[in-house]
């Protein structure tokens, strides 16, 4: 699969996890693509710079460069929307009023702790709302291709990159499989590639287990 296709597979699978009525924050990167797969679900997108009820990206016709998402892309808003200041926006996030945050990651460890803000060997000069979202959202779903460009697994025994916080995320949707983090470690909920769990375990570098009985890939 091409890299772009993998990103869409992940985004589509995450969209399935979202439910009517939920307040959802989509991070930059793959998470942003999730909005393309919501279909007729009534999900309310929050953006941390002060909007609940974000609509699709703006077009040339309805462009207003004051109106942007957290990735600084011009967006639109729905008729149910409301605007608020940054302190109130992070009150919403940190106070537990965002039902689901979908975030990109660099690494996630077997306990579900993630690293998603500090790129290794580069000056660390940006954190944005990443830590607030990890800390505050009721449920955190992380999105990433399972392997970095150099082939190393992003699902790791122990983070080697800087942690985004002590909170453990609930779900990791990768291009190969969907992992749920349980008290006993990550469990494969579903395979997204036609590959056996043994093969995948070998690529990741440790033994993976299914949460329940295996689900076949169509």
């Amino acid at each position: 699969m091409l890299s772009q296709d993998k990103r869409h597979v992940i985004a589509k699978r995450i969209a399935e996890e979202l439910m009517d009525g939920q307040i959802v924050n989509l991070g930059i990167g793959i998470p942003t693509l999730v909005s393309e797969y919501l279909e007729d679900k009534e999900v309310f997108l929050q953006t941390e710079n002060g909007l609940l009820g974000m609509g699709p990206l703006a077009t040339e016709e309805n462009l207003d460069i004051d109106l942007i998402n957290a990735g600084k892309e011009p967006v639109t808003y729905l008729k149910s929307a409301s605007f608020f200041n940054s302190a109130d926006s992070f009150g919403l996030i940190r106070g537990g009023h965002v039902d689901v945050a979908v975030l990109g990651i660099l690494q996630v460890d077997i306990n579900g702790e993630i690293a998603n803000w500090a790129v290794p060997n580069q000056p660390i000069l940006g954190v944005g709302g990443a830590m607030d979202l990890v800390t505050g959202a009721q449920k955190v779903i992380v999105a990433a291709t399972l392997f970095a460009k150099d082939g190393t697994s992003k699902l790791v025994n122990k983070l080697t990159y800087k942690t985004s916080g002590i909170r453990r995320v609930e779900l990791f949707v990768s291009d190969y499989a969907v992992f749920k983090f349980t008290e006993e470690g990550p469990r494969v909920v579903e395979m997204l590639e036609p590959i056996s769990i043994e093969e995948l375990s070998e690529k990741v570098g440790f033994q993976l287990e299914y949460l329940n009985s295996p689900v076949e890939v169509n």
Partner: protein, 228 residues
Amino acid sequence: MDKVVESHEIRKLFKSGDQILSGGFGLSGTALTVIDELLETDITDLTVVSNNLGDLGQGLHKLFIQGKIKKAIGSFFSINREAVIAWSKGELEIELLPQGTLAEAIRCGGAGIGGFYTKTAVGTELAEGKEERVIDGERYIFEKAIKGDVAIIKAAKADRLGNLVYHTTARNFNPMMATAGKIVIAEVDEIVEVGDLDPEYIVTPHAYVDYVVQSKYSKVGSEYVESR
């Protein structure tokens, strides 16, 4: 009472070494005209509190390029490539805070709150050296309030008394910053008469605002263009 002044009159309100609170997320909600005036002064060694340091050669980015900024306190400087380079060379101090912590600290600064405990960043590098405390079984870190000598705010409309309303996500950090500056300058797209703004919908009451300046910028497509 009329707080409206010509933009050049605000130059005298700044001095070298000031801590400036500047609204804006990217360039949305940034007082571009006020920053241009600041460029016309010989003040230097500013500490700037803002989410980022402007963008695309506009706003705070100009101020930084001109060498007026000694230190930046904010949440996201990765996009400011020159700032990252200056920081690596030791020419720019940077204090990085999670975006929500930054917003809350400024709100506290304006509201007579000395500091607060947040869950955000517990256990991370950004919590290093910060006091940790367990409240009701959860871990929090202490953050001090942030105030400024001058706050530069961008709003959509002001009445002549300084009541402010904002436009969409250009609101962002502005309302909190308006409360936390010793001197508060509001740059606005439109100046209206007292009574033209609905009392239920005013976001920043005039009590916080000292000066109102007409913005010289307008939105043209995907750019903010100096046009007046």
